[in-house]
């Protein structure tokens, strides 16, 4: 009973709390900021409380309405931990960043609601609930991308909303046809049921559009017009991780049976996405666009590991979500500091910032190392495991596609670092960011390093999680 209450609170505290924030702001703005952060932290701490329960091999089911339930297994708790921890850092960063702008009530309401919807989605074990939370995240991110209300920003927010909506409606069609076949929306009852190719295509369209994979990816770089903490949320912690998580939830944790050919087709799509996005990142000159394309590219690695579907691939993909989340969050927050202080995002007009912004520069470099997959950073293990899953399944050529992607990752990230932080200064001398912002980026960089050195802990957890997933290919 107690565990079920915890599970409900994890979702309800941020969702209900979000709507209370504008009211609290009438009392005090500082209190509102504190509450926003603490709602996310409460969720995070409660999720930690679930770790020992899940680690002992149990799962938790909590009923809400009718036959809809929340369900916590290793996969869900892992994902929730990743999202909550990174979101907490990003909200903390926001306290410094967003204090310069108007409409802060709307900002905090949407961010916390966004986070709550993510928690709901992660723990949903019912397709309709899953869809419901999925759309809440779409609406909140639409509002947040257009937060600065300029005409072009609003258009881009519309684009993000329309593309992901297009995908999610098709996915809903897929869910309905599953219901027609089996008479149930409940994932527990749907275990190991067979899916026709059409349904797989419908659901995949939804997933790929949300996780910004080729050819449904272009909304994500455009969404860079959002405030930096929001882009960090979209890329690192919440939005794009929804697609990969639902892929894992449906095709691996629920064990939907599909044609064998999808185990090759999805890695090929992911590989094409990784390469095209890496190429775009090489040629782009807008700091946030480059990092956004980098996300599209890295998501390809995650999809590859999941779609190959062997134990090391799935575990590697989950680790990838964690390590990429921390490192990419750090990169965006660093980009936010650079953008706010220099008033430009064009990397050809920046340079030499390491002299005046040493902490930002070093954090950026460390996070880049993690994204590149350089040991002792956490990204090394996830990249190794995902790459190995391809060779382990015998599809060595897939590993070579991603080798090209990984090489380009190194090249474009170093290019950005050198252009922005090294060489001659091209702007007026600028100050380092505020202390809350610096603490956030340094924390994420340190976590990226710690993720590699203390790999034992996430890895142990994932080894146990893998045993709970029926869809793993032996």
């Amino acid at each position: 009973m107690e565990n079920q209450a915890i599970l409900l609170l994890i979702v309800l505290v941020p969702i209900l709390g979000a709507f209370a924030l504008p009211l609290i702001s009438c009392l005090s703005v500082r209190l509102r900021n504190l509450c926003a952060l603490s709602f996310v932290l409460i969720s995070f701490i409660l999720t930690i409380a679930l770790v020992p329960v899940v680690y002992s091999g149990q799962t938790i089911t909590a009923h809400i309405l009718y036959n809809a339930t929340f369900y916590a297994d290793g996969l869900a708790v892992f994902m929730a931990l990743v999202s909550a921890s990174i979101s907490a850092v990003i909200v903390f960063y926001s306290l410094g960043y967003i204090s310069h702008y108007e409409n802060q009530n709307e900002y905090y309401l949407m961010v916390v609601l966004f986070f709550g919807a993510m928690m709901g989605l992660v723990f949903s074990s019912n397709l309709i609930f899953l869809y419901l939370f999925w759309e809440i995240t779409a609406i909140t991110s639409w509002r947040l991308i257009g937060f600065f209300r300029e005409k072009q920003h609003v258009l881009r927010a519309d684009k993000a909303f329309l593309v992901t909506m297009f995908g999610s409606v098709l996915m809903l069609l897929g869910f309905v046809s599953i219901y027609q076949q089996t008479g149930s929306f409940d994932l527990g009852a749907l275990k190991n049921s067979h899916l026709s190719n059409l349904v797989v295509i419908l659901i995949l369209t939804g997933i790929l559009s949300k996780s910004a994979t080729l050819p449904l990816h272009t909304w994500l770089p455009d969404a860079g017009v959002a405030p930096s903490p929001v882009t960090a949320l979209l890329h690192a912690a919440l939005l794009v991780k929804i697609g990969v998580y639902v892929f894992a939830r449906l095709f691996i944790a629920t064990g939907f049976v599909t044609e064998d050919f999808w185990h090759t087709a999805v890695p090929v799509i992911a590989g094409a996405s990784a390469l095209v996005a890496a190429g775009a990142a090489m040629t782009a000159t807008d700091l946030k666009r480059i990092i956004a394309y980098s996300t599209v590219s890295q998501i390809g690695f995650i999809f590859m590991g999941l779609a190959i579907g062997n134990a090391i691939g799935v575990a590697g993909a989950m680790l990838y979500i964690l390590m990429h989340g921390m490192a990419k969050g750090g990169l965006f927050l660093c980009a936010g500091i650079v953008e706010q202080n220099t008033k430009t995002k064009d990397i050809t007009r920046l340079g030499g910032l390491i002299k005046t912004m040493p902490i930002t520069a070093v954090s950026f470099l460390l996070c880049s190392f993690s994204v590149m997959g350089i040991p002792p950073f956490g990204g090394f293990f996830s990249k190794y495991m995902v790459m190995t899953s391809a060779t382990q399944s015998g599809k060595v050529w897939i590993a070579f596609i991603f080798l090209a992607g990984a090489i380009m990752t190194i090249v474009y990230l170093l290019r950005v670092f050198n252009l922005v932080f090294m060489g001659q200064a091209k702007t007026q001398p600028v100050k380092e960011g505020s202390s809350t912002m610096l603490i956030s980026v340094a924390l994420l960089a340190a976590l990226s390093l710690a993720g590699g050195i203390f790999i034992y802990y996430p890895s142990q957890f994932l080894q146990l999680t893998i045993l709970q997933l029926p869809g793993i290919i032996k």
Binding site: K159, M282, P376, F380, T388, Q392, L403
Partner: protein
């Protein structure tokens, strides 16, 4: 001794590195203490000559934390820790008063820790963890060299990073083929996938060693990075690591035989590296840059030796590995003391330092003789073994190696003449000998070079022979080959004397080769980096990126223009149909009615 002592070899330098960064003072003393204690542990372990293993819980999925110490790794550890200690001692004086001294020591110690870990690792992923981890400290060590040094650091990072990624996939393939990642248990069959795996692992190994085509960052780093970095990493530590791994994969894992085409591939890479790099070395006008091309050229001998797959070649290659580490690091150290005392390494501005810096000059002479293969120094013996093996495989490899020797000798005659003899530059009249902490490491290393030459049999017997599983009986070098070597050395001297006569001055002794027809043009292009594999690779990546980014723009255009426009077009069309014309609507309704009627009739019909 407890097996946990192995962990100390990684932990001591790491803790020392963190301390140095944290307290920002006494960095020399901390670094000396740390490397000294590592050296003591390594000596103790080597003298015991036991096999240790240590296993700790780690990431799972085949990724285990296993350390294993046996004869070969104990020997490499001894070499790494000894070099680390000597280089730190040298740096105490050399780096004094320079920028970023704390970071220098800290990165150097972490590099030593990573190298120790890589040598001890008995799990392939653990090896990769330490191996690839060196990238970070290398990046730091080069980047602190100067304002523009980050460009070289980036170049190094990309070149080595790419080859480490190849190593990563190779390791994945080995796991797929053998089902284990424990290095001492791996035996890979040489089928198509096996050969692919070998090539990928080989790329990782020879790239760390600095072989062509993964070499081009080393000459740049010679200019940009702090000098002790060059003496420690590209000259000694990276050679030790790269050749160690190459020997492990060819001998233990893949059991390459003389019949395999991979053996010929290795020998070819070795021969090409020897020749091309030494050709570049010959025309250099800078002390450090000239040495850096030799650092590349010499690794070719080792790859050639191991690639022959003959016991004498393998032993020769490994002996050459340790010999090269000795004389090459010492040569870099002499370059450092010349740089410290005169303020330049440009050969045109040096000369006649013999009487001013006698100890440095003697150390230079010994090690230069060693690298040129003059008997009785150590380089002579290892080169003879490699010649022997190369001759047995095919004369063409022998000729390449011999030609390489000729050019090596010629370039060192030029270097020695230009720096230590000839006319002294006016500015260097008051030059003094380097300080004691700089001289001690040089003298020690030069002395070892002499000892290894005089007692080459016991050196090979103590350090190297136990590595081979098969019986190895050393025999005397063939008289014919030794005679040929002597002739080549004499020719090099004659060439130098004539060259000096013609062009006037030691530094210009090889100018007729530099400006020879055809060769001259090629040299000019090479100096402009037109043949740099890194520049070519980057160009290819840029072109591919342009194509890929065009595809991305095309997809984006579909969303931004096509979808939007077609939506407007569709709504416009529908709008035009609804003009408010009454009769048109009646026609619409009638047409609809007819269609419904037809459908209903069809329904009844079936």
């Amino acid at each position: 001794m407890n097996a946990n002592i192995l962990l100390m070899l990684v932990i001591i330098p790491l803790v020392a590195a963190i301390l140095i960064l944290a307290i920002r003072r006494l960095s020399e003393i901390i670094a000396l203490l740390a490397t000294g204690s590592m050296l003591i542990i390594a000596i103790a372990l080597f003298r015991q000559n036991l096999t240790y293993s240590l296993s700790l819980p780690w990431a799972g999925f085949g990724i285990e934390f296993i350390f294993r110490l046996y004869h070969f790794s104990a020997f490499i550890l001894l070499a790494i820790t000894a070099f680390a200690f000597l280089i730190v001692l040298y740096s105490c004086s050399f780096m004094h008063g320079k920028n970023y001294v704390n970071q220098f020591y800290s990165y150097l110690l972490i590099s030593a820790a990573m190298a120790n870990g890589a040598v001890l690792a008995d799990n392939f992923v653990l090896l990769l963890f330490f191996w690839e981890g060196l990238l970070v400290t290398l990046f730091g060590l080069i980047a602190i060299g100067g304002k523009e040094a980050f460009r070289t650091a980036t170049k190094m990072f990309i070149i080595v990073g790419v080859s480490d990624l190849c190593l990563m996939i190779g390791i994945g393939l080995v796991w797929y083929l053998t089902g284990t990642l424990t290095i001492s248990k791996i035996t890979v069959p040489l089928n198509t996938l096996g050969c692919t795996a070998f090539i990928l692992l080989m790329i990782g190994a020879i790239s760390k060693g600095g072989s062509m085509p993964f070499h081009s960052w080393i000459p740049d780093a010679a200019v940009d990075a702090p000098l002790p970095f060059m003496a420690f990493l590209p000259a000694s530590l990276e050679k030790l690591l790269g050749i160690y791994l190459l020997a492990r994969i060819t001998l233990d894992m893949f059991k390459l035989t003389t019949g395999s085409w991979l053996s010929i591939l290795l020998m070819t890479i070795g021969a090409i590296t020897i020749l091309l790099a030494v050709m570049m070395a010959l025309i250099q006008k800078d002390y450090k840059k000239l040495l850096s091309y030799h650092a590349i050229s010499q690794v070719g001998y080792m790859i050639l030796g191991i690639g022959t797959c003959l016991p004498i070649g393998i032993i020769g290659g490994l002996f050459h590995m340790i010999n090269n580490a000795l004389y090459k690091s010492c040569l870099f150290l002499t370059a450092g003391s010349v740089e410290k005392q005169t303020g330049t390494t440009d050969l045109n501005k040096l000369g006649g330092l013999w009487s001013k810096m006698p100890v440095t000059a003697v150390c230079f002479l010994i090690t230069a003789a060693s690298i040129s293969g003059v008997p009785p120094f150590n380089g002579f013996f290892s080169k003879e073994m490699i010649y022997d093996a190369a001759m047995e495989r095919h004369p063409i490899f022998y000729i390449a190696a011999l030609l390489g020797s000729f050019l090596t000798a010629a370039s060192f005659l030029k270097l020695g003449h230009a720096a230590f003899f000839g006319k002294r530059n006016q500015e260097n009249e008051n030059t003094k000998e380097a300080s004691l902490p700089m001289l001690i490491p040089m003298v020690i290393i030069a002395a070892i070079c002499v000892l290894f030459g005089l007692y080459h049999r016991s050196a090979v017997g103590t350090f190297l022979t136990p590595i081979l599983t098969e019986q190895f009986v050393e025999h005397d070098a063939s008289v014919l080959l030794v005679t040929l070597t002597a002739i080549v050395l004499i020719l090099a001297v004659i060439h130098h004397i004539i060259g000096t006569e013609i062009h006037g001055g030691g530094v210009k002794a090889a100018d007729h080769i530099h400006h020879a027809p055809v060769l001259g043009g090629i040299y000019d292009k090479a100096e402009k980096r037109l043949f740099d594999p890194y520049e070519i690779g980057l160009k290819i990546v840029n072109v591919i990126s342009k194509i890929l980014s065009f595809m991305d723009k095309a997809v984006d255009w579909i969303y931004n223009s096509m979808t939007v426009n077609s939506a407007y077009a569709a709504s416009d069309t529908i709008k035009n149909l609804n003009t408010g014309n009454y009769s048109l609507y009646i026609i619409w309704s009638l047409a609809g009615g007819v269609i419904v009627l037809i459908m209903m009739l069809k329904g009844f019909g079936s």
